[in-house]
């Protein structure tokens, strides 16, 4: 069995494959070709040496969905809404999160106002029909939209979460009147109350639908043309994968799939090593991302804003909760107008890149600081393929940072790293401390080209005792895709006092959701369910997602559910109110189709580790370098132990161990680092 994952990033398309019979990994990289994305994929397969016809399953992650939105290259989209609500999508919530900004922007609508049409219909919050849908009003809307040449239509009626019948009828009329047009109905995309957020999510789906749907189709064809006849799966924001058919209907589900692979991989690596609670820490060129995994499960956020909270487009679909901060290898160090040292969020990116890349960069970056401190070896970067300009890095830091602050060169470089480590730590705190979790109870998993360089410092800052540097840290996202399960998330608004909820009706709703969810599943037989109820004290707005079992629903276990809510509330906010009435707002269902687990090869045991050389590196004291042994990671066998200070080099990254840190190579190849008692 051969499973392959292909991840399209901004610069490179990454392939990682696993051949179970031969027990080996295959890797390949090619340049991303934005105009013809599928060509990069076919190129990658060719480079990997794999026979496309022999691939059983191919998992694909792509940024096409989010790029289509951010670059605003989606379809000409029309919107049909309930009478009186034409402007709900333009108005949004009327808020200005940048409170003092006189020149703020709200989201920029994806539908022109004249392409937003009203239908004669009205439902009540109960789902009862207040005014029947008048088909003529939909036909009339279709005529106008047809004349305007729309390629996609979103339909979003008030209270359709409670009763989708009007939307279904309208959808049928639109499909008949505008054949070939991409149609999204709000209740099919998101069956949750709050009309602006649901409409926005549906509009985003319609807007990107034709392009992403076309892409998925041509990908299937092009893969077929080179002989691939295995299963194709598409990575989605919730950490699972979906079939191409589901992706074509709900492309919005793949919007934030970019960082997800690495988080799945962190969860699996942690579990395999016996750590169910881990924090995934991924640091690349422009940002660092943190995500919390509990009991082997990534934490989910109920929605997100594409383009940021202040001016972005709400997409209220579950995604893996990730906190991103502007601290990556390319983040620029600078001094502000009052003389304070800052790092990021501006990044030199890949072009021009850090000064030491010799790509014309002139601003000192985090990577340059690492070169100056000797933590990155200028002669052994990317396996020596790229010689770094350490003199340029030193000159840049001297001129732009050290001289104005009247510091020594290495002290300035260290200050740049210290500030960025404090920024990165804030991201880790945000996913842990803020949610009521103590980071010291978690293990950090470091990925990305820059993650292993800084992870020991971040761990120290947060008093985290253990750190894992996995295999393939710079291809970690693709590795995670190999391991992802199928997953569909569904939500239904189901409102009422917990004491009065009709559990029989709730069980029926649940069964409907299960049917809907499993119909799109390839691995039906192995499917597992997770059920959550969104609960709150009466009078509150924000809910907590409380996990429940189907048995609890069937037996109407109000008391058990109530207790679970109070306990969760106590954990999250350090107080709770056992006498206050509780109400239910939504039921959530995740259906997970388990893919077969891959058994990765183990390393041969070889307890002795021999450094390949020794280098002077500034670690804890910027005034005095220490003699630091350098190890070549591929040469390390299972069970090998290394005591810090040390550097462990591999193709895409370097792991830094400080004095007192201790590292052991796991049988499966990961570096397991115990942070020294200096912490």
């Amino acid at each position: 069995m051969i499973v392959v994952a292909i991840d399209i990033g901004g610069t490179f398309t990454d392939l990682i494959g696993f051949d179970a019979e031969q027990n080996r990994f295959v890797e390949a990289k090619s340049l991303t070709t934005p105009s013809q994305l599928t060509r990069g994929i076919i190129d990658c397969i060719r480079k990997s040496g794999l026979d496309a016809g022999a691939i059983d399953e191919l998992i694909h992650g792509s940024t096409i969905a989010i790029n289509t939105l951010i670059e605003r290259k989606g379809a000409r989209t029309g919107l049909i809404v309930t009478r009186g609500t034409r402007d709900v999508y333009i108005i949004g919530r009327g808020n200005r999160p940048e409170a003092y900004n006189l020149l703020f922007h709200k989201h920029r609508p994806l539908v022109d106002r004249h392409l937003s049409r009203e239908a004669q219909e009205r439902l009540l919050a109960s789902g009862d029909v207040h005014e029947k849908l008048q088909a003529a009003s939909i036909e009339d809307a279709c005529e106008k939209l047809k004349a305007a040449g729309v390629e996609a239509v979103a339909v979003s009626f008030l209270h359709s979460y409670a009763n989708p019948e009007h939307e279904r009828q309208a959808g049928a009329i639109v499909r008949a009147a505008l054949p070939g047009t991409y149609v999204s109905l709000s209740h099919e995309i998101l069956r949750e109350y709050r009309e602006f957020e649901r409409t926005s999510t549906t509009v985003v789906n319609a807007y990107i639908g034709p392009k992403v749907g076309g892409y998925v189709k041509s990908l299937k064809q092009d893969l077929g043309a080179v002989g691939f006849d295995g299963d194709l799966a598409i990575m989605r924001s919730n950490g699972g994968v979906m079939t191409p058919e589901v992706a074509t209907d709900r492309p919005v589900a793949m919007m934030e799939s970019g960082p997800v692979g690495g988080i799945i991989a962190s969860a699996r690596v942690g579990q395999a090593l016996g750590f169910a609670n881990v924090i995934s820490f991924d640091m690349g060129g422009t940002t660092a991302k943190a995500s919390l995994i509990r009991d082997g499960e990534p934490t989910m956020a109920p929605g997100y804003y594409v383009g940021g909270y202040a001016s972005g487009h709400p997409v209220m679909l579950p995604m893996i909760d990730v906190v991103e901060v502007g601290a990556g290898g390319g983040s620029i160090a600078w001094i502000d107008e009052i003389g304070a040292l800052k790092v990021g969020p501006q990044s030199a990116g890949a072009d021009p890149g850090p000064i030491c890349y010799r790509g014309g960069g002139t601003e000192p970056t985090i990577t340059d600081a690492n070169v100056v401190l000797g933590r990155l070896d200028p002669d052994n970067f990317l396996g020596g393929q790229m010689k770094l300009d350490s003199e340029g890095a030193a000159r840049g830091i001297n001129e732009k940072i050290a001289a104005p602050l009247k510091m020594g060169l290495t002290a300035a470089a260290q200050a740049i790293l210290d500030i960025s480590v404090s920024t990165m730590s804030l991201a880790v705190r945000e996913v842990s401390v803020k949610k009521g979790f103590d980071p010291r109870d978690f293990v950090l998993v470091a990925a990305g080209g820059a993650g292993p360089l800084h992870i020991a410092a971040v761990a120290r800052e947060l008093h985290v005792p253990k750190v894992i540097v996995p295999l393939f840290p710079s291809h970690f996202s693709a590795l995670g895709m190999l391991l992802a399960d199928e997953r569909h998330d569904f939500i239904r608004t189901f409102y009422g006092d917990l004491t009065g909820i009709d559990f029989a009706a709730l069980v029926t709703t649940h069964a409907e959701m299960v049917r809907e969810a499993t119909s799109g599943l390839r691995h039906k037989d192995s499917a597992e369910q997770q059920i959550h109820l969104d609960l709150r004290y009466v009078g509150q707005e924000f809910t907590l997602q409380v996990p429940v079992t189907l048995e609890q629903l069937k037996s109407a276990d109000r008391q058990g559910i109530r207790q679970a809510f109070d306990a969760l509330y106590e954990h999250r906010y350090a107080h709770h109110s056992p006498d206050e009435p509780v109400e239910m707002v939504n039921i959530r269902l995740a259906v997970i189709g388990k893919r077969p687990r891959l058994q990765f090869p183990s390393l041969t045991a070889c307890a002795s580790a021999k450094p390949v050389r020794e280098r002077q590196v500034y670690l804890s004291d910027p005034a005095k370098p220490v003699a630091c042994p350098v190890y070549d990671r591929p040469s390390l066998g299972a069970g090998a132990r290394i005591a810090g200070p040390a550097l462990v080099q591999e193709h895409g990254t370097t792991t830094v161990l400080f004095e007192h840190d201790a590292c052991e190579v796991a049988p499966s190849g990961e570096l397991v680092i115990t942070i020294g008692d200096a912490a």
Partner: protein, 582 residues
Amino acid sequence: MSKPLDPVTLEVIRNALPAIANEMAADLQRTSYNMMIYEVRDYCTALLNPKGELISQNVGGVSHFVADLGVIIVDGMKRYGAKGFKPGDVIITNHQAVAGQHLNNIVIYTPYFHQDELLMFSMVRAHWIDVGGTSTGFGAGATVADPWLEGLQLDQLKIYREGELDETLYRVIKDNIRFPESSLGDLKSQMAACRLAGRRVDELFNKYGRDTILQAIDIIFDETERKCRNVVEKLPDGVYEAEAAMDNDGVKRDEPVPIHAKITVSGSDMTIDLSKCSPERKAGINSRTYAGARVAYKALTGPLEPVNEGSFRALKVVIPEGNIMMARFPAPMAGWSTIVPTVVDTIVRALAPAMPDRVPAGHHGLLGGTVVFFGVHPKTMRRFVIQSIEGGGWGGRPYEDGEPASVSVCQGDVRNGPIESIEMKCPVLIEERALRRDSGGAGKYRGGIGLDVRVRNLVEGQWNFEQTRRSMCPPWGLWGGQAGDYNEYLLRQPGENDFAIAYGNRRTVPVNSEAIVRTGGGGGWGDPLERDAQAVHADVIAELVSREAARDEYGVVIHPDLSLDAPATARLRDEMRGGRPS
């Protein structure tokens, strides 16, 4: 101060202090029981030192709370003395003699001690949904004559002494407010946010030590001040003035309320003098606040930077005692913030000649169209109250049109109520929430569009139609732009054909009435005749501007089939330019 602080420690502390205030805010918002907190964000969270200096404050909530908690600490220190505070104390206050706002704004604060030394206070001000009297909802209206009618007054009282609840005080509060489960839930959330801050501050002190933190705070104040001075320094020295007016104060209906701002820029110093604003009124639109001046100064000097004591050290605010914004107890203050957005906008307008590339035309200038309808559901006998704040148009900008339907300059992340959420909880139908054609002022860059929200009540109930209007001084244009449309309440009762203007608070309306909550539009920026005819055409197609307004205000001719007549437009624009006095 001994040795200079290293830049890394300084930067870490600089980031940590606002992070604590923001974490308090997030915690409060998620656990609160009333929409004034979780949607309207009518709260602030902050750390202050015992001198009453602001160390950090949350960002994103209601802007007019900026840096206004200091007076409460100064007063508290006077009452209790530095030795009068003990660990475990929780103080509650809303008294207008010092706080100067409506009584709904309840301040809770706790002292923070490090090694037995009182070093900080963590504070949360939040709008309770009811504090008795006539305070239900957004607060009592302008017509409430004094604080005793308004609600319960709490004057720097310890509700917890060294961790011990004062049961008597608790009972007095509980028995004198209408929704005790909501408000006492909020009390709990406010205390939890203060305690959270205490823990975070403690971590910081334990890590860096007392001297380092206090030294860092002083440096941060100085640096913040310097940043503001850098902005003001670039403005030409001089005296800048502007004026505006509210139609009336809500009690005396035939007398406008004048607003006037005089700004003096001298080097890096700025003085904002509001002396010529109306004297104290016999209506509840008085306050004791620097908010008007401070929000404007903040917006102009560093809108995206965190707030601390240094943010306003280079600003001098002049408001004499007895002024509408420096009213003396017991002047009524139930609608304390009503005029503040217009005050802010007037200051901003005055400075337009000094910063022509950054100052937009006037915005709707009011605290939103407030949707307040309440009653008792006849079937369930449960009380209900709808509260939503609807945004209006913002002024055209020196390079683009104004934003539509957004909350005022005094409100940040304040969100309207979703129609589905309102209808789920309350017996009404929101028939319409729509942009109102031609409500944005004409200009080279058009003013943003205002709203109509039409609400049909399915059971009998009471409406609050109390709101100061700006019909005599609608949102102004700049540099030749036209004014935007103004706000209004309209009502049509069953059997009536037309909507009529509606006034008054607690007005009972029969089943199946329809009320329209109307918000103003923004003013236009620049000469409407200079607006790109294609942009006017697009506005007509989008039904934001009528064909008549396109012709009369912009000189753009659009045929009934919505095609643009370029030659006729050129002729008409020439004619209109020619007809102007030169």
